[in-house]
Symmetry: C2
Subunit: 138 residues, 2 copies
């Protein structure tokens, strides 16, 4: 069953999505996972937005509880913890890319994502599929 423990403000899908994603940091953590391919706790801390470690720990816990990411020991280094994304997580790629497009158009100049945005505007499905593949989620 979907969405058991979360308190939903309403049954509107937009509202339900925002019950999980609607804050300053959650979608930024997902950007790091989906577009920057970050996997380790320490990696998230180095992003330019400088998330505090307690907030990061909290968001990773909530994302895991929501079934968007998995917390596991890294297969390549059994003593490190690696966070990996689920299909529920990769299904947010379009949301993140649309936010990127909007932010690049209206909030930022010279952001260095022109190529990606152009490609996404030309053929969104292809870009989404490529990112999905790069995350091992073909």
């Amino acid at each position: 069953m979907l969405a058991q423990t979360l308190s939903h403000r309403s049954s509107c899908p937009v509202s339900c999505a925002l019950d999980i994603l609607g804050d300053k940091w959650t979608l930024l953590v997902l950007r790091d996972i989906l577009l920057k391919r970050k996997r380790y706790f320490r990696e998230f801390l180095t992003s330019p937005e400088k998330i505090a470690s307690n907030i990061l720990a909290d968001r990773l816990k909530k994302l895991e509880a929501a079934g968007m990411i998995l917390r596991r020991y890294d297969p390549n280094n059994g003593c490190k913890i690696a966070y990996t994304v689920t299909e529920k997580g990769t299904d947010l790629i379009p949301v993140i890319l649309e936010l990127l497009r909007w932010g690049a158009k209206h909030e930022v100049v010279n952001n260095g994502h022109d190529q990606l945005i152009k490609q996404f505007e030309r053929n969104p499905e292809e870009v989404i599929a490529e990112i999905r593949l790069s995350l091992g989620m073909g």
Copy 2:
């Protein structure tokens, strides 16, 4: 309310977008404007998520400051205030529709948006253009 400086945490377009949109309520107000065609203060208060009037006033102020909406006297009733969306606002239609799609797939069952979502998946540009038109932003 004190004048607020829009502080960008970084130059990343996703981060900049979230500096404006990243909270529990802002995108819900925009959903009401873009998908439910709400225009008046009182109308936003009647949404099922029950935003508090002080939070609503604050978000409308911030959205106006960000250039996403306009606060005007209603042309049809010169003594009522009507909020209308700008192009910067309508450019968020894809973001909202992707959130709707994600929420409907992963968080909600039986949400009554199946037709819209199917149409959006088949031909996103058409759905976006239709909504834009319905808002008087052809």
